[in-house]
């Protein structure tokens, strides 16, 4: 902010404009502030109306029994008490964190490994990169439907066909209460991989080549270079991707919804994430107050997880 003001001052008109009442009454600095704020007011106002007001409204609704039809009645913490007593909520809670805790590290390790090696490949580099990026551009609905067929039992499902040829027993995948969540997680990781690879590669490119040269002259092995130079210097990228991917997994919805449309949330709710529960509570059962309470819980989780990650991965000065 200070830098911008100084810059503004440097390029400002010398002497101001004597004669106008506005200029007379206010100093240069005040006038500039008025200008800055009048421009800033627009996005702030927009955000206040589009973002903050509904957010606070949701907080309020979570304390009511609003069902769209009748006026909302304040019922205190009843929604929250109901939520914490609801076994379905805890199941969904566990599912959501499984997506997060298993999905984020796996997707990051895979993305980094691919990016690391792809960075060294010259042959058809952009073509391979485009191939990895392609799933990210595809709509989740289309992708999910293709995967649904992949996961079918044989002879329809390709994966089970291959298993059959290799002599591996058939797997039920999304028809199983144990495997369904991971089957969906694989598709989510696959879909997000392209984006993460691109970001990792940008991060890798940003590391000055001189560091590597120096390390090689000093006789460091590849492993040591990776540990001492690449990973530490890649930290900002990693932090960004960890936070980004975590939020993505905490909010996972389209993959799950589209892959299990006829039994939303998988057999016996085995793949149901929090967002799907919120959606069903709000738009199938029309229990808006209850859904708002779930949203507040999700919001709190997102906030805590993001802050925690930023704190853990913070720059140690």
């Amino acid at each position: 902010m200070a830098a911008i003001e100084q810059q503004g001052a440097a390029s400002g008109r010398p002497g101001g404009s004597p004669g106008t009442s506005f200029g007379d009454r206010f100093s240069m600095r005040t006038r500039r502030l008025v200008w800055v704020w009048s421009f800033l007011a627009l996005p702030i106002l927009f955000y206040a109306i589009i973002r903050f007001y509904p957010t606070f409204q949701a907080f309020y609704l979570s304390f009511t029994n609003w069902d769209l039809l009748r006026p909302a009645k304040f019922i205190g913490f009843a929604n929250y008490i109901k939520l914490f007593k609801d076994p379905q909520f805890w199941k969904v809670f566990k599912n959501t964190f499984t997506y997060l805790i298993v999905g984020t590290p796996i997707s990051l390790v895979v993305a980094f490994t691919i990016a690391f090696f792809l960075d060294r490949v010259r042959f058809m580099h952009s073509f391979i990169r485009a191939l990895y990026f392609l799933p990210f551009l595809t709509t989740a609905a289309a992708m999910a439907w293709v995967w649904r067929w992949f996961y079918q039992p044989p002879p329809i499902g390709i994966i089970n066909d291959v298993f059959g040829m290799l002599g591996i027993p058939q797997q039920p995948f999304i028809r199983s209460t144990d495997q369904a969540l991971f089957s969906i997680m694989v598709t989510a990781i696959w879909a997000g991989l392209g984006f993460q690879i691109i970001i990792f590669m940008a991060g890798l490119r940003a590391i000055p080549g001189t560091f590597y040269e120096a390390a090689r002259i000093d006789g460091l092995g590849e492993w040591a270079i990776l540990r001492k130079i690449t990973l530490p210097l890649l930290k900002p990228t990693t932090v960004f991707l960890v936070v980004f991917s975590s939020i993505g997994f905490l909010r996972i919805f389209d993959q799950v919804y589209n892959m299990t449309t006829n039994d939303p949330g998988g057999p016996l709710g085995s793949t149901k994430p929090l967002v799907l529960m919120i959606y069903q509570t709000a738009f199938n059962s029309y229990a808006m107050g209850y859904a708002a309470a779930q949203t507040v819980v999700l919001f709190t989780i997102l906030l805590i997880v993001s802050l925690l990650q930023l704190w853990i991965l913070r720059e140690k000065k």
């Binding site: 769209l68 009748r70 999304i174 057999p267």
Partner: protein
Amino acid sequence: MRKATLFAGLVAGFSTFAFNAAQAVEIEYWQYVFDTRVKAMDQLITEFQKANPGITVKQVTFPYADYQTRVIAANMAGNGPDVMQLFYGWLDKFVAGGLLAPLPKDAFPHAKIESDFFPIVKAMKRGDDYYGLPTAVRSLALFYNKKLFTEAGLDPNSPPKTLDEYVAAAQKIAKRDASGNLLVEGSTLDMGGQDHQWWREVLIRQFGGVPYTDNDQKVAYNSEAGVKALKFYTSLQLEKKIGAAGFMDEGQAAFRGGKAGMTIDGTFRLGAFKSIKDFEWGVTELPANAQGVRSNYASYFANGISAKAKGEELEASKKFLAYITSPAAMDIWLKTVGELPALRSAALTEANLKDPIYAPFLKGLEYAHTTLFMDEQAQRQNAIDMTNRVLLQGQSVEDSIKQAAAAEQEIIDAAKP
């Protein structure tokens, strides 16, 4: 003399014009987007406006997923429809929210409704009032693939009539490869499709029970009949092995793909199945039990008048509702959408009863039941979960029924206005 006639004509002309102008009223009709339904309604509106020059009807449509929310939100904002289409299962919510006006008894006398419409129209009655009338109704039937019947050595012209015959035919049709993988289902098993209705309103009754009591407010299937019905249903996959839940993802997809001998589905599927080119298919009534007991599940979208329609708009709405629930309108609807007329006289015509496709559905309507869902989606999910616990987790049928009954009672109680 000629002048006088001319003058009289002019006066008459002006006065009708003035009369019409005074009467000119626009009402809004809302329904969800479904190509053939919108087209049929456009046609009905044109016909109606021809007969009632003073009234214009504006059709407004929304995607199905948004429809309920839109109606409710518009009502809060005070600019909803005059006449609206609603699923019978939404009635409690719409009545509790004050969206619908009771049908005026002068224009829609109860005795006439009850004698002319199929009995399932009772689902639109709350207390002493009816809140809507359907144009068309839907029921279930057994679709069967004639090609697979012939291949399995069955007569494609005599589909199964009883549950035992149904199981026997399905067992003959089902095909597996050397390692036991299902290639062709005898019959589809898809609780997420129409099977939960089949279990709830048909099988339980055929095994001697009732799914609910107290106007469907009290779960009653935690009984011997309920257990037997679920045992029968789950044994189709576990013991008789005529199919598998999740095969080809959805029952209707398996049938369409020619990979299932039979499937239970509704009238609304006719449109999708009509485009099948690879094989011939037929329709028959849902199988009866050994004692000949039959049942069916029927559902419908009804048309109701908004509580906000007053004065001229109310009069116009009454006229419009009367027209779209008339035999003439039902005929247009049947031809365009393929749904069965809700009036007995319009449905049970000789032509319809001879029609090999419509006849089984129409017969089903005579003994059909209509579940008064409180939260359709949650109650359906509950039935899916109940079956999955048996199929996937090996829970005993008795325990699963008990758990499902308790959970569904909770859903019903929670949804009570």
